[in-house]
């Protein structure tokens, strides 16, 4: 399976849970699992080749000029991480199915989870650092959604925000670092960068790039001093915590350090920054974990501590240490995911995670107890479990590290870290499960169903399997991964017994001291609680507060809720930009010859200017304003005719008719006058802004028209290819249906959506509520015509209808070669139909037309889309026209083009959207008491027909 497809699968799959939740929770979880399993299968099919040392690649050029290509590659490191992400993902999906309650929106959860999974897979498969950055930011965004999944909990929202702020800001720093790196090497392809170690380390930009990239990695992997977000992210549902904080999100930072290891590691800077940060994080977080009473908080700090451990190992910069780091990544993922899920089970069954309220669960929850025992012992580093193996190796490596000439610092601190680790692991077992059974649990504890404990039990089994047979189970994987990390062939030898080496003694000391610490936990806890500690959240909030206040101050001034103010600010900003550009540029007078002014166009211009000026003055009288708009629109259409744009003129005039009808219908329910409410000063201010904007735009277009194009226009291409390539002589239409058919396709979709939104709006208004009440009590504010459907109008529109449809068909058919086309034909037909509604009444007309406007829109878009897809079968790009000339007896030679099918789609959508909009307003009118007539010529029922006729 192509790597690009594997990376895309979770994203595509994210659409499914939301749809399938309607088929039930099991269907929803199953489809999510299937998507993940499919991606995992794709990866596993590549596994044998990767194990042999091959690198699988998929390359798609996207923006080669920017160095931005969609390149993916899969080596040992990628294999390990995709395996973790998708494998543990599967277990989490199973677990979450049973963890989430029926009140939680499960479709949403699985959709977010798949989005996040896709982003993670993208990170570890990317072969282009710009692409990697995109996925990197996507993990921040999707994890925000996951952490804040329980939107009703303030801690959830705050935790999500904190995680997003910290990791997002780190991501920004990393972008800068990656760009520097790409600049040094001259390529953004990871595989190229990884081969240029000397170039990068010799560059004077090495240190800035290193620091920036490390900020990104440290924030993601919760390294000191950015560790504080992770415990707060524990407000998320447990499946999220288990997924994000055991196998994925926080490991992304480690992945990045491992990925960049060949080019960034090995320098003193790398050692001192990375190894020291890792060491501090490991010891400090392990100490805090010991004093946390919340099960998840304990696990969160333990995670931070273990991430520190792995960071430290990567920081050592030796191939052996890198190998150990890889091994510990696997081990940590197994036991920590199992522990998180078990903590979730305890919370789920007892309704508390507070260790001080628990204890004695051993007999009540034997299965959970067994799982926790195995995983926690592994976390503590007790033989023969897998945690023991990697911790021994870690201690061994720490004895080789020399910190500022000192041989003792690293091993001693590492042992202390291990000691705390032992202490909190045993505390987890002892204080939760051992001891006497209590009678004050918030709920009666018992083991959950199989579905819930299956996933952690599987992981616990892995912990044992890896622990007992490390070389058989993961030896090859560790070798392939470590070789990929270091770029050299690594020999892997993991065993339980290395002889009486220092690491063994360190381990024994750590376990012994850990037990003593646990025994002293009560007094130590009192001291801990009595000592003041910096509260990370308070500090974080204090740092953010000034920013929040500043932005609030700005927003209050610019966006105070007044639409007029936004628009004035926007207009002034654009004006200022224009003035700045004018003042800093150079100018020369235009050279293009002016076209002469003829008398007839001059009259049209006078009408246009007069109508616009009147609109200024009389805009308060809304009916008059509408008439003036009609005049202006008409003059614009006439202008298009004169200036060689027949297509535009046809479109403009038909749109004009439809717009004015629509506004008239709406005005029926709106006040007929606008009150004077702004002061003279305000109106003058608006006048000055408007005048300046008008002057600027007018001057700009004048300058543009009096100069020739600065570059060769692409119009010539369209003119030259319209007939041979598109098969039509009306270039404007050919551009619409062929050259830029994709644009047109998008635009009819927008139009269709506008029509549907209008329908939905009216539907919502009429469903009940104040608008509905107001309409039911509607009293027309204007005297109505007694003759509701004037005879002349009814007869005329009915005579016109067949003619108008004929004209529509004619305009449609000639469109490819002469002015016309789907847009215009659609408008003409729509107007002819609306005329029936207006003349003969809504009820009468509606009873006689059987076409559903929604279906019209749907068919229109579908036909246009299928026509575009059809080009694929002719092995040509989307929306390429195919055409041919045919001859039938008695008829001139004629042309058939696929563009006509596309144009039919345009036609149907336009008719549907326009009709739906206008018919929706009629529904409002009916609700307001307008009676639906059954006869075409009925009269206003509340008034007697008089001889005076229409008033």
């Amino acid at each position: 399976m192509s790597l690009a497809l594997i990376a895309a699968l979770p994203f595509l799959g994210a659409l499914l849970p939301g749809l399938l939740i309607r088929a039930g929770r099991n269907a929803c979880a199953t489809v999510t699992g299937l998507v993940t399993a499919l991606a995992l299968l794709g990866i596993l099919l590549h596994a044998p080749a990767v194990m042999r040392g091959e690198v699988i690649t998929t390359r798609i050029e996207w923006l080669p000029a920017l160095g931005l290509n969609v390149n993916f590659f899969l080596d040992g490191l990628g294999l390990l991480f995709t395996g973790l992400i998708l494998g543990i993902g599967l277990l989490i999906i199973l677990y979450a199915r049973f963890y989430l309650s029926s009140k939680d929106p499960m479709g949403q959860f699985y959709a977010y989870l798949l989005l996040f999974q896709g982003a993670m897979v993208g990170i570890v498969l990317s072969d282009n650092i710009l692409l990697l950055l995109i996925f990197w930011e996507l993990t921040s965004l999707s994890s925000f959604l996951l952490i804040g999944y329980w939107k009703h909990l303030p801690e959830g929202r705050q935790g999500a925000r904190m995680a997003l702020t910290v990791t997002g800001a780190g991501g920004l720093a990393m972008i800068a670092g990656m760009l520097i790196l790409g600049n040094i090497v001259g390529s953004y392809d990871l595989t190229v960068i990884l081969q240029n170690k000397d170039l990068i380390q010799g560059s004077e930009w090495y240190l800035p790039a290193l620091i920036l990239i490390l900020i990104g990695a440290f924030t993601k992997s919760a390294q000191f001093p950015f560790h504080f977000w992770l415990p707060h992210a524990m407000a998320a549902p447990t499946p999220v915590s288990a997924y994000l904080h055991s196998a994925t999100m926080v490991k992304a930072g480690l992945f990045l350090m491992a990925r960049m290891w060949p080019v960034l590691a090995g320098t003193p800077e790398w050692f001192y920054i990375v190894a020291t940060t890792g060491l501090i994080t490991m010891v400090m977080a392990a100490k805090i974990a010991l004093f946390k009473d919340d099960l998840k908080a304990l696990l969160a700090f333990s995670t931070v501590s273990h991430l520190g451990l792995i960071t430290m190992l990567l920081g050592f910069g030796t191939t052996e240490a890198a190998m150990v780091a890889v091994f510990h990544i696997i081990n940590h993922a197994t036991f920590k995911a199992a522990l998180f899920m078990s903590a979730g089970i305890v919370d789920h069954e007892t309704h508390t995670r507070d260790i001080k309220r628990l204890g004695g669960l051993r007999h009540l929850m034997p299965i959970t107890f067994t799982i926790v025992c195995i995983s926690a012992l592994s976390m503590a580093g007790i033989p023969p479990l897998n945690g023991f193996l990697s911790k021994e190796l870690m201690l061994e490596e720490s004895t080789h590290a020399i910190w500022a000439g000192n041989h003792w610092v690293m091993p001693v601190l590492a042992t202390i870290g291990a000691m705390f680790s032992v202490a909190y692991s045993f505390r987890l077992i002892a204080h939760t499960f051992l001891g006497p059974v209590r009678d004050d649990y918030p709920a009666k504890p018992h083991d959950p169903g199989f579905g819930m404990w299956a996933a952690p039990a599987f992981l616990a089994a892995l912990v044992i399997a890896i622990g007992i047979m490390p070389m058989t189970t993961v030896g090859e994987l560790v070798r392939a991964t470590a070789s990929a990390v270091t770029g050299t062939e690594v020999e892997v030898y993991i065993s339980h017994w290395h002889g009486f080496v220092p690491a063994l003694w360190m381990s024994i000391i750590a376990v012994g001291a850990g037990f003593i610490l646990l025994g002293l936990h009560r007094p130590l806890d009192r001291i801990w609680l009595a000592t003041p500690r910096p509260e990370a959240k308070a500090i974080f909030d204090a740092i953010l507060e000034p920013f929040a206040r500043a932005s609030r101050a700005i927003i209050d001034r610019l966006h105070d809720g007044s639409l007029a103010r936004y628009l004035a600010v926007a207009t002034l900003t654009i004006l200022a930009a224009g003035i700045y550009a004018y003042q800093t540029g150079t100018h020369s007078p235009g050279t293009r010859a002016l076209t002469p002014i003829e008398p007839v166009p001059a009259v049209g211009w006078l009408l246009l200017m007069g109508a616009t000026a009147s609109l200024f003055t009389f805009h308060r009288n809304r009916l008059l304003a509408l008439v003036l708009v009609g005049v202006i629109g008409l003059m614009v259409s006439v202008g298009f005719v004169y200036l060689s744009a027949p297509d535009l003129a046809l479109t403009q005039i038909s749109v004009e008719v439809a717009t004015v009808m629509l506004l008239l219908l709406a005005l029926n329910f709106l006040p007929k006058d606008s009150p004077v409410e702004s002061t003279v000063a305000r109106r003058s201010r608006d006048g000055i802004i408007a005048g300046a904007a008008g002057l600027g735009i007018g001057a700009l277009i004048f300058a543009l028209m009096t100069r020739d194009s600065a570059f060769q226009t692409i119009a010539d291409f369209h003119l030259a290819n319209s007939k041979p390539g598109g098969g039509g002589t009306n270039v404007v239409n050919v551009i619409l249906v062929d050259f830029r058919g994709y644009d047109t396709f998008g635009e009819i979709i927008v139009l269709g959506i506008a029509g549907l939104v209008i329908y939905a709006l009216v539907e919502a208004l009429l469903r009940g509520g104040p608008a509905n009440d107001r309409l039911l009590a509607w009293v027309p504010d204007q005297k109505r015509a007694g003759d509701r459907h004037p005879l002349m109008l009814v007869v005329a529109t009915r005579m016109i209808l067949p003619i108008a449809l004929m004209v529509g068909a004619y305009i449609f058919l000639r469109g490819h070669n002469e002015p016309g086309g789907g847009f215009i034909a659609g408008l003409v037909v729509a107007i002819a139909t609306i005329m029936q509604y207006m003349a003969s009444g809504f009820g009468w007309a509606a009873a006689r037309q059987r076409i559903d406007y929604h279906a019209l829109i749907g068919w229109g878009v579908t036909i246009a889309g299928l026509c575009g897809v059809g080009s694929w079968f002719a092995m040509r790009p989307f929306m390429t026209t195919n055409f041919g000339y045919f001859k039938l007896p008695f008829i001139e030679k004629f042309e058939l083009a696929t563009a006509a099918i596309f144009d039919l789609g345009v036609f149907l959508t336009v008719v549907g959207a326009v009709m739906l909009a206008l018919a929706s307003i009629s529904r409002i009118a009916i609700r307001a008491g307008e009676t639906v007539n059954v006869e075409p010529f009925d009269i206003q029922p509340d008034e007697e027909p008089t001889t005076e006729g229409v008033r």
Partner: protein, 119 residues
């Protein structure tokens, strides 16, 4: 001719901007309609003016720029769709609240009662 087009675009823009700065829905909608005229003519005119040279291919003729026309054609239809939408929104808002004032600012700028006889 260029001068006429430029001045028309300028005046229509000014009128559109002025009307969009009003505080009631209807003038704002009319203002947006005016702005769409202005913008459409602007884009059209950026293809330079030509009289009697439509972009219909015939033997040995010269043509005006078809590209800007194609752009404006769809723009006209889309702006109709958008106008229809905001008209319905305005209508819905008016029917829901009984008021067509469009600001959400605090009391300082709240609508003053209509002053009679000041037309």
């Amino acid at each position: 001719m260029e001068l006429l087009v430029a001045s028309a675009v300028g005046l229509m823009t000014a009128c559109g901007v002025y009307l969009t700065l009003r505080k009631r829905t209807f003038p704002v909608i009319v203002g947006i309609a005016m702005l769409s005229y202005a913008v459409n003519v602007f884009i059209f005119a950026s293809g330079r003016l030509a009289i009697g040279l439509p972009a219909i291919i015939t033997e040995g003729a010269s043509y005006t720029d078809p590209l800007t026309q194609a752009l404006v054609l769809t723009a006209i239809v889309i702006s109709f769709g958008m106008t229809a939408l905001i008209v319905m929104m305005a209508l819905g808002a008016f029917l829901e609240t009984g008021d067509d004032y469009i600001g959400m600012e605090d009391d300082a700028d709240a609508p003053t009662p209509p002053q009679e006889g000041q037309k």
